[in-house]
């Protein structure tokens, strides 16, 4: 796979199309795409990790739920994540460990605030490789 994710232009908001050799990787790359909107990932080091576990009614809801959980973690703990290890991913359940560090204004420039992931234009595509698409309200 050449690239992990692409930014999808939208008039008011921004989307991500993420790729992977499997769905776990595509979900991980979508999360990486999310944090690339918030900050420069090159400036972020892996000094802490957080475990996330969630359930949802289907894969699409799981994707939105996963990204919204990360938005929540950033908003409440100030953690910038850069690497994501999805350890379990079924139709309704996700388990992941995410690595990053607390945002520090001396080290990280914060770019765009993300309010949340939406269900608009949401896609989980497994037909030709693994590809997921999500639009954020920013």
């Amino acid at each position: 796979m050449e690239k992990d994710f692409e930014i999808l232009d939208h008039t008011a908001d921004v989307g991500i199309i993420a790729y992977g050799a499997d769905l776990k990787q595509a979900f991980a790359n979508a999360a990486k795409g999310l944090f690339s909107l918030i900050t420069e990932l090159d400036d972020v080091e892996e000094v802490l990790c957080r475990d996330i576990e969630l359930t949802a009614s289907d894969e699409e809801s799981l994707l939105v739920g996963w990204l919204n959980e990360l938005v929540y973690r950033f908003d409440t703990e100030g953690v910038l994540f850069k690497r994501f290890d999805i350890t379990q991913l079924g139709d309704t359940r996700l388990k992941a460990r995410s690595y990053g560090e607390k945002a520090d204004s001396a080290k990280h420039s914060l770019k765009t605030g993300v309010k949340g992931a939406t269900y608009h234009m949401l896609k989980v595509d497994k037909t030709d490789g693994f590809r997921v698409q999500v639009l954020f309200d920013i």
């Binding site: 930014i7 232009d9 939208h10 008039t11 008011a12 908001d13 921004v14 918030i38 949802a56 009614s57 699409e60 809801s61 939105v64 739920g65 919204n68 938005v71 929540y72 908003d75 409440t76 100030g78 945002a103 204004s105 420039s109 914060l110 770019k111 765009t112 605030g113 309010k115 949340g116 992931a117 939406t118 269900y119 608009h120 234009m121 949401l122 639009l135 309200d137 920013i138």
Partner: protein, 486 residues
């Protein structure tokens, strides 16, 4: 060759364009877009028609899926959309309000003139930037406890004023008197609370801002005078922000919850972000109770910010609050769902009016218009982009009849944030604004490029359409001289 939209929309008059129900199977009412012919080309390219049509699927929608002239492509609902649903058999949709519940605008008059403020504008903008927390990741100067947060959820601006932030008069000129009824903190989850506590009293980032503007046009001097806008050259302050992470999380939680309810109630929707539930169902009622908590949080937020802004002005100009005459003109919300009474086919009906990027515009004599404005109508506050103008207008009887008492809310984007950033650099935008006499202080230069004038429609064109269509009347225009961006 004629534009493709010409085969779809039916022209009613120069400012009203209908999307018939035949456009898409599943629409129960036609779409109605308030716009001009020249703006339709762009609207068409953006697939806004599709979104207006999708909203027309909502069970219980009355009359039309409406779009204001600042309409642009949103997620689910278009931004600049208005949809009214019957309370007795219709639905409420969190996506029809959006993530930033009660994002809104507060306008404040001053006794200051441009001549007095210009020499100190840099100092003023810097002082506002210091006194009012803004930008991504910023935290408020006040830290409420969980119990106090619940007070904020229920009582909004009133709580802030009782704690010494502002005056009782501010509340009388705030939509819903700054505290919406029906708020129930039990319906707000722990995540929203955790996001809400540190962010109370912050401006935020993105398109939120403080604008110091100068009155440069008066269209209705008498109405302007009733609002305390007396002369050209007078300085006004505009505050644009909402319910921050607190509202965002409530939207997130309820879109997920109502996404499941949609299946239970057998509602068929063309877009999952339109997730909804009957207003009479427990899910629908719970959303409205939680949404009202976020609306009240936003009103308290703007109340705190107004208080600090008054202090900033007092410090910079060395004058007392009295001398500055910083009376609040009005405060409107433009992302909300509200239960309001309308006459439909000769019968009084209670409707749930979703305003997603639209401003309430009630007419002369309406009981919800504050006493001091009862004879002129409700003030409507329409911020533009940071380089052009902002407008003050008034609600009308035509808005009551056609748009469920609603009008436009701003300029409306035409260019994506990515495209704006690629074509413009923040530093160049700041310089271009400085050349036009506008001092800007922003948390990040990238955010400045994203919000450049070029990324927006011309607000004057938008406001002219609402004026000519009669859904709000222009009163005054301001041009910015100082802007604080998150």
């Amino acid at each position: 060759m004629s534009a493709p939209w010409k085969e779809i929309v039916r022209k009613i008059d120069d400012y009203r364009w209908e999307i018939p129900t035949s456009y898409k199977a599943g629409m129960t009412v036609p779409g109605l877009i308030f716009t001009s012919e020249s703006m339709l080309d762009h609207i068409w390219e953006e697939q806004v028609f599709e979104q207006v049509a999708n909203v027309a699927f909502l069970p219980g929608i009355v009359r039309n899926s409406l779009a204001m002239p600042d309409i642009h492509w949103g997620y689910g609902f278009p931004i600049g959309g208005v949809a009214a649903t019957r309370v007795k058999d219709g639905v409420v949709s969190p996506g029809g309000v959006g993530f930033d519940i009660n994002c809104g605008v507060r306008l404040v008059r001053t006794n200051l003139t441009e001549d007095e403020v210009r020499p100190k504008i840099e100092q003023l903008v810097n002082q506002l930037f210091v006194d009012i927390p803004s930008g991504l990741g910023s935290e408020g100067k006040i830290r409420v406890k969980e119990k106090e947060l619940e007070e904020v959820m229920v009582r909004g601006s009133r709580w802030a004023v009782e704690k010494g932030y502002g005056f009782p008069e501010d509340i009388t000129v705030t939509e819903e008197s700054g505290s919406m009824k029906g708020a129930n903190p039990d319906k707000v989850g722990s995540k929203a609370r955790k996001r809400g506590i540190p962010q109370l009293g912050t401006l935020g980032s993105g398109n939120h801002f403080l604008e110091v503007g100068v009155v440069d046009e008066l269209y209705d001097a008498e109405a302007a005078k009733a609002m305390g806008i007396e002369a050209l050259g007078q300085v006004l302050l505009l505050i644009h922000t909402g319910s921050r992470g607190f509202g965002h999380q409530i939207c997130t939680d309820y879109v997920a919850l109502l996404g499941e309810a949609v299946k239970r109630y057998g509602i068929s929707l063309p877009d999952r972000q339109l997730a909804c539930a009957p207003i009479s169902s427990s899910e629908g009622r719970d959303y409205l109770a939680a949404m009202s908590c976020a609306a009240n949080y936003a009103w308290a937020n703007r109340q705190f910010i107004l208080h600090w802004a008054r202090e900033s002005f007092a410090r910079v100009f060395g004058k007392s609050q009295q001398e500055l005459g910083m009376r609040q003109i009005y405060d409107v919300c433009h992302n909300i769902a509200k239960l309001e009474d309308y006459t439909i086919n000769g019968k009084k009906e209670k409707l749930c009016v979703h305003r997603k990027g639209a401003t309430r515009a009630f007419p002369v004599g309406h009981p919800d218009v504050p006493d001091i404005y009862r004879s002129i109508g409700q003030p409507v506050l329409i911020p533009g982009d940071m380089g052009r103008y902002s407008y003050v207008a008034l609600g009308t009887e035509a808005a009551m009849k056609e748009t469920f008492g609603s009008t436009c809310h701003g300029a409306g984007r035409v260019q994506s944030r990515g495209a704006a950033k690629r074509s413009l650099r923040g530093a160049d935008v700041a310089r271009a604004l400085a050349d036009r006499g506008i001092t800007v202080k922003a948390g990040s230069l990238a955010s400045l490029a994203e919000e450049a004038s070029e990324a927006y429609k011309d607000v004057s064109e938008v406001v002219d359409i609402t004026h000519k269509a009669g859904i709000s009347f222009k009163v005054a225009r301001t041009k910015p001289i100082g802007v604080v961006k998150g």
